[in-house]
Each structure stands twice: as structure tokens, then as C-alpha cells.
Amino acid sequence: MQTAKSQSSLVLSLKKWWMKEASAYGFVSGYALMFLIFIAVPVLVAILLSFTFFDTIQPPHFLALKNYITLLTQDDIFMRYVLPNTIQFAVLVGPGGYLLSFILAWMLAQLPKVPRTIFALILYSPSMTAGVAMTVVWQALFSGDQTGYLNSFLLSLNLIQEPIQWLQSPHYLMPIMIIVTLWSSMGVGFLAMLAGILEINPELYEAGSIDGIRNRFQEIIYITIPSMKPQMLFGAVMAIVATFQAGSIGVTLSGSNPTPQYAGQLIVNHIEDYGFFRYEMGYAAAVSVVLLLMVWFFARVANRLFREE
């Protein structure tokens, strides 16, 4: 009798536990399913495919590390253009955009609410345009003939003698890509850092001034940044992701993949080139894995910098 009773209470508590957990899993399931299908599995498939040869017609066959070896030793375009371009672009746009976001956020935090909100809106608005909507603007501004705004402006100042093919020129394409991307880099991370700076307890600054902090630069280094490390890290991760996600800007601006003389060719364009034009899915997957590793590496660095002890 006694055991039966304890057994039934055990069953009951198990049932209750199951009900509790089950409802939690129920709440998570929709997101988890979409995450699995469109984020987790694609990453796994990319890793698996990167060890194979796959042209979408025949089933993939195993190549071990051959794709990676080819990428590092025989892919002339990758080594000569794509990798240096990606590094140049990423270094200027990533840390550059991040630093710019932080400095602007810090300046905005020194202003009263109304002007701050207006400036924040102005600085954030380019990041909403996300490429597509702005193509027409860049095409008009950087148009290669004399009716282009930049050309006409420089011609009227006699700074140049004849119009420059801005977007088709291997010299100017990359700088324009960098400027355009920096222009739109005050996104979510910028807003997070602004909120982070505003959240810092003002008493910390007063304590700091008593402890001998003499100027605002010291204040930033010793008080502001250490007090908002989590926001700094969030902003850094967002900056890294945005930098690599912006990879198609060269193709958007110049209107062709490959970009003129590979001047604006970034790793993302290389993936597209091999995946969708040459149908070498295995090789393209290997390049994707390299891209994901680069993102992961930079995020690790950011993590080191802003880890809370």
C-alpha cells in the first residue's frame, strides 16, 4: 500500500516535471526549429561539403583537405586579390567603424536628450538603407561621365581635367567601398554603446575626479570603457558581423562579379563566384568555412579585450 502510494506520487511528480519542462520546450521549439534548419544545419553542411567535390549534379565525393590545400596554394585570385582585399576592407571597416561608433556615441552622450536623439537618428539612418535602396544614389554620385556629381564637382574646381570612372576603376573602387560601408556602420552596435555610456552611474565620474583623473581621455580609458565592457563586446561582435556581411558592396557598386580587375573582390564574392557561377559547391563551401573562421577569430579577439574578470 505504502509503496504503491509513493510510486503514484513519483509518477505524479514525474508527470508534473514533464509538464513543466515540456511547456518550456514547447515555447522554445518554433525558434529552435528555424534556427536548426536555416542556421545550424547550413553551417554543418558547409563544413561537410568543404571536404568534398560537389557540382550539384553528381553526389559529392570525398576529397579530404584538397579544397583547402588548393585554396591556400593554387587559387591565384584568392591569394592575390581576395584575401588582401578582404583584410584591407575588414581592418578599415571593422575596427574603423567600431571606433567611429564609439567616439560618436561618447560625444552624443555629452549632449542633452533632444539634440542627442536627433543626432542618433541621423547617424543611425544610413545603416537602415542596407545597400539596395542606395545603389541609385551611389551610381549618380560616382557616375563615370561628367554628369556624375563628384566628377562635375571636381571638374568645376579644376581639381581633375577629365571625368574619372570611379566605380569601374581598380584604384578608386576599394576606397569608395570602404567609405560607403563606414558611412552605414553606425548600426545596432552604435545604439548599444550609446545606451551603455548613458547607463554608467554618474557617481563613478565624480569618484574618478577625486581619485585624480585629470582629463576626459583618462576618464574614457579608466571609467567609461571598463564600466560598459558588455556593451563594448556586443558592439564589437555586431561590427565584425556587419563588416563581413557587407561583402557584396563591391559587386553592387560596380555592377559586376568579378569586380573590375578584382579590385573590389571580397571573400563573399569569391564564394558566390564559385558557388553560383562555376557550380563548384565543395570549393565554395571551403571558402565559406574560412570566412566563418575569420569571423570567429575576430570575435575571440574582441572577447579577450572585453572579458569581465
Binding site: K20, F38, I39, P42, V136, L194, E206, F244
Partner: protein, 302 residues
């Protein structure tokens, strides 16, 4: 001595973070921010100005930045025009609106329910799932275009409406921000309701949702921007012209490789660009204060 000390402290108060009003020390920031934001605004002002230019101003030489005789002709042309495959522009716009609305609503629902469970429920995989999502903040969708393509093909989603929506639903940043926001709600609030015998669904609907409106607004904006500006889905996964979106239509107007006459189509393209951009701006203006209050919870622990 005493006076000097007083002066430093009081000046700190005035020139510190989040000041209450104007102070001469702020002038230097205005001197930097005003020209910079004017520069940042130029391309955006240009969209507005360009979209209303009559043909003679669009092709004037020397080119003019600001419109002189604004006209709605470009918009009229845009809507009276058919695409190369005789689909009216309104169809693309309709597709974009439907896709965006469904994406925003669904992603808000699945992210907020998941965030509630991850923040307030106790279950075995909780820590693991949140850790995975945090790693996925680093996820760059553009890197997995090819495996996604293969999966979408395998699931027979090619050329369906769903392919616009489903891949956009799981947004690691969105889940992360809502979960952090819900963490700010004291556990006692939820526990009290549980003791009263409230179901999870009731707690989520009646207690959590009303308290996390700012976070909801924020991820609604983020998912709106992702869905509304998305042209890749139409070009990669859709061949049926009547299922493509307005963002895609805009790329056909501006892309030289698609054979568009960039010069002649400039007015139409400018009008279309403005239609692309405006909803982003309006929504953000209305929700900016909610976004800011969400962002103060955005910290990422290393």
C-alpha cells in the same frame, strides 16, 4: 582651495554624461557633430530630392543636387510601368508588404516565446541553448548561401512564398536582446503568478508581453529591415516573377548587368529607392525611444 574644488565638481556635473541642458563645454561636440551629420545626411537628402526631379533636372548639366521644380512624375511612371515580364510594380510591392508583415509578426512571436522560456523557465537544455544562440550572434548569413540553397531545394521551398519568410525567422540578435530584457523582470513576478496557478501561456501573454514592449519593438524593427530590404531571396530562390519582391525589382532597375537602362530609368529608380527607404525611417522614428531602452540591456558577457 575650497572654491577650486567646488568649481571642478560642479563643472563635472554640467559637462558630464547625459546633461540636463546646454553648457558651453558642449559646443565642441556640436562643432564636430553638425558637419559630420550633415555629411552623413547628404545621400539620404539626395534620395528625397532625386525622386522628385523632372527629367530635365535629372539629366541637367552641370548636375544639380536639390530639386527645383518637384514633380510626382517619377512615381506615376513607376506605377504605370510593367516589368520586363509584364508584372505590374504594385505586385512586387504587395509581395514585399505581405512577406514583411508575416516575417515580422512570426519572428516576434517565436523569439519572444523562446526568450521567455530561456529567461524564466527551468529546463535541462536552457544554458546550452542560450550559449549556442550567443555563439550564433557571430553568424554571417551570407557565408552559408550555398548550403542554404541546397537545403531549400531539398525541402521543396524553391519558388514558394515561404522561402521569403522562413529563413529570416531565427534572428540570434533578436532572441538575445529579448532574453536580456526579460532577465530584467524580477523572477518573483512570474513565481507569484505560477503560485496562483496561471499557465505559462497566460503568464507569457498577460505578464511578460506587456512588460517587454520596447524589446518587441526593437526586434520588430530589426526583422523589418532584414525582410523589407532583402533582394537576395528573390534572385536566388525564386524564378516565378510574380513572387518576387520590391527590393528585387529595385535591383533590376539599377543593375547594369541585368540590362537595365540606368540612365533613362534613373527617375523611376530614385522614386523606387525612396519607397524602399521611407518605411525604415518612419518606423525607426516612432520607435527610437523603445529601441534605446532595449539597448541598455544589450550587454554581452565575455
Amino acid at each position: 582651495m575650497r572654491r577650486r574644488w567646488f568649481r571642478t565638481v560642479s563643472s563635472y556635473r554640467n559637462r558630464g554624461i547625459n546633461p540636463q541642458g546646454f553648457h558651453p563645454s558642449q559646443i565642441k561636440f556640436y562643432l564636430i557633430l553638425l558637419p559630420l551629420s550633415a555629411f552623413m545626411l547628404l545621400p539620404i537628402i539626395f534620395i528625397f530630392s532625386h525622386a522628385f526631379k523632372p527629367p530635365d533636372e535629372l539629366f541637367a548639366y552641370p548636375p544639380r543636387f536639390f530639386v527645383v521644380n518637384p514633380t510626382l512624375k517619377n512615381f506615376a511612371d513607376l506605377f504605370s510601368r510593367m516589368s520586363a515580364s509584364s508584372i505590374p510594380v504594385s505586385r512586387y510591392l504587395f509581395n514585399s508588404i505581405v512577406v514583411t508583415v508575416v516575417t515580422v509578426v512570426t519572428s516576434v512571436v517565436i523569439s519572444s516565446t523562446a526568450a521567455y522560456a530561456l529567461s524564466k523557465k527551468r529546463f535541462k537544455l536552457k544554458q546550452t541553448l542560450f550559449a549556442i544562440n550567443t555563439v550564433a550572434l557571430m553568424f554571417v548569413p551570407i557565408a552559408v548561401t550555398i548550403p542554404r540553397f541546397l537545403i531549400i531545394e531539398r525541402l521543396h521551398l524553391m519558388d514558394t512564398f515561404w522561402v521569403h519568410i522562413l529563413p529570416m525567422l531565427a534572428m540570434p540578435v533578436g532572441l538575445f536582446l529579448i532574453k536580456q530584457f526579460i532577465d530584467g523582470i524580477p523572477d518573483e513576478v512570474v513565481e507569484a503568478a505560477q503560485i496562483d496557478g496561471a499557465s505559462d501561456l497566460w503568464i507569457y501573454w498577460q505578464i511578460i508581453l506587456p512588460m517587454i514592449r520596447p524589446a518587441i519593438a526593437t526586434i520588430a524593427i530589426l526583422s523589418f529591415q532584414a525582410a523589407w530590404n532583402n533582394a537576395d531571396t528573390s534572385s536566388l530562390y525564386i524564378t516565378n516573377e510574380s513572387l518576387k519582391t520590391f527590393a528585387f525589382y529595385l535591383t533590376t532597375l539599377t543593375s547594369t548587368s541585368a540590362g537595365a537602362n540606368v540612365v533613362a530609368g534613373q527617375g523611376i529608380a530614385a522614386a523606387a529607392s525612396l519607397i524602399m527607404f521611407l518605411p525604415n525611417l518612419i518606423i525607426f522614428i516612432f520607435m527610437q525611444s523603445q529601441v534605446m531602452s532595449t539597448m541598455s540591456h544589450s550587454g554581452l558577457k565575455g
